[in-house]
Symmetry: C2
Subunit: 317 residues, 2 copies
């Protein structure tokens, strides 16, 4: 585990709790001391931790902020150049490009556990963080499926289910359901506060819900949104187009039926997607079409829930 | 109580629970039957209920959908033309105008309890709905302060605190912290669902929070947003301006620092407003400047927490 913040620290705890041999390193003295005090095998010597991983052919998990991924990947390229490697960053295409540039011989599988809180640092973590969460494990055309299965097993071991997607498909979806929500929450929190003390005094459920993630540390939000610029721009334009049409309708006819009906139907679609009864699916990881099979599962909203021998067992509604 | 849906039904229960004599009427057979089965004094004869209120000089509370307020106000004007009257609608200026047109001799005080759920109808109600909620009681230049105090006492009796504001100040604030959140949630729910099954499968906290109120009944959201068109348009333009600037910045420099920092500061301002230690304030309701004093309290984010004799006792941070 390289990085022992909220995600890395939770994963070190969770992996240890299920009996995996796991060790960590971080540039943060504070996180290293806190993790050591909790009895974990950690240090601030990232190079040494990577060399140990290379020696033991261990899975290396990069759980560092997106802003330092390039730098840490260079270190991986130097200290563990052919290691089994994954990451947990909230944007996947830039990390894939960086891994290909700076650690091209690693068996790299991009990953993203869709879990977290507004907190950060070792002390914010807990071994149950990934229970019930979706964990994207990327499948590109050149992905080593043995490496993919190793990453998926780790995610499954700590209680998540695995969603196989390309980095590009992940980033497009993340723009819609994570990055756009953060930006709308920021604008809502700004417009609310601009109104002075009266709106602050009257705010109730809709405002509290709509602004909750605006309290996230700004550097985290910047890293994920700015890092996903390519996928985020068209999604932002889609939202702006709908908001502009709504504004025009309110100004002209005074009617908002189309906007509100579409939103209600979207909310129903989301609720239905959560409640749908899934059917079982199996993907033979040794088959030539395995990558396409995994991606098709993810693209249909499905998930892998177990891996046995060479078969990924999943479900899709 | 005219109207026995979520708000009217909860208020009938809550007023009865604190020992007030209360009765209700509704055009909804279903709500009337359900309320009667629960032991309340209700009927479907709105005219008779209003005449009884006129006879006893009781406080009439209109808790009907905004779309039928005009019609019910005409009935009030006919059956209880000089009654003590309030309402609970989510937009205050249109109701004030309608009361002046259709029931001009009533002692009208606009009201809005900032409480509710996505549910509706008698069965969704409960007597604790208003506990801890802000309840706006409008103070216009011609407001009868004895009537205002009666409305405020009802709100205080059922567990709310009272925010004195003009209808216009309420509507401006409501646009920021209720109507804009509903419209942003609708657009987010639409853009999320437009992405197909992948975003629906990956959605977690930020999306769930940001779209929660998009599941509200569309006719309720239409009534409050379309009914507040005048105050909502400039607030919507403020949001669109910020979103457009953000889009431009992402497209050109790729930076979102300004948007995200402003949102974070807005979220901090909201948290601070909630945590601030208030100081006591008293407003003598018999003094000539009482209306100005009450409005100043509300405009500073303050609240009335008790009324004794002719004094409103409040607090403001």
């Amino acid at each position: 585990m390289i990085g022992l913040g909220l995600i890395g620290g939770s994963l070190l705890r969770a992996a240890s709790a299920v009996g995996r041999e796991a060790w960590g390193a971080t540039a943060s003295e504070a996180d290293a001391q806190a993790a050591a005090a909790d009895g974990f095998d950690v240090s601030t010597d990232v190079d040494a931790a990577l060399r140990r991983a290379a020696d033991q052919d261990a899975l290396v998990v990069l759980a560092v902020p997106l802003t330092v991924v390039d730098e840490v990947l260079r270190t991986v390229g130097a200290c563990a150049p052919r290691c089994l490697l994954t990451d947990v960053a909230s944007v996947k295409s830039p990390v894939l490009r960086a891994a290909r540039s700076f650690a091209p011989e690693t068996r790299f599988v991009g990953g993203h556990p869709m879990a977290g809180t507004a907190e950060s640092g070792w002390r914010a973590g807990n071994s149950a963080l990934f229970g019930g969460a979706a964990w994207v494990a990327c499948v590109e055309d050149d992905t080593d499926l043995a490496a993919w299965a190793e990453v998926a097993r780790l995610a499954l071991d700590v209680g998540a289910h695995v969603v196989p997607l390309t980095a590009a498909a992940h980033d497009e979806a993340a723009a819609r359901i994570s990055h756009l929500p953060h930006l709308l929450a920021a604008v809502l929190a700004t417009v609310g506060a601009q109104g002075g003390p009266v709106p602050m005094a009257l705010a109730a459920g809709s405002y509290t819900d709509g602004t909750r993630v605006a309290g996230t540390r700004p550097e985290l939000v910047r890293a994920m949104t700015e890092g996903n610029r390519e996928a985020l721009l068209p999604v932002l334009d889609e939202a702006l187009g709908r908001l502009g049409a709504m504004r025009g309708s309110l100004a002209s006819t005074g009617g908002l039926a189309a906007t509100i009906k579409a939103g209600y139907e979207g909310a129903q679609a989301f609720a239905q997607a959560r409640e749908a009864t899934p059917a079982g699916v199996r993907v033979n990881l040794a088959a030539p079409e395995a990558r396409a099979g995994l991606r098709a599962l993810g693209e249909r909203g499905g998930r892998v829930t177990a891996i046995t021998d060479e078969t990924a067992i999943g479900e899709v509604a």
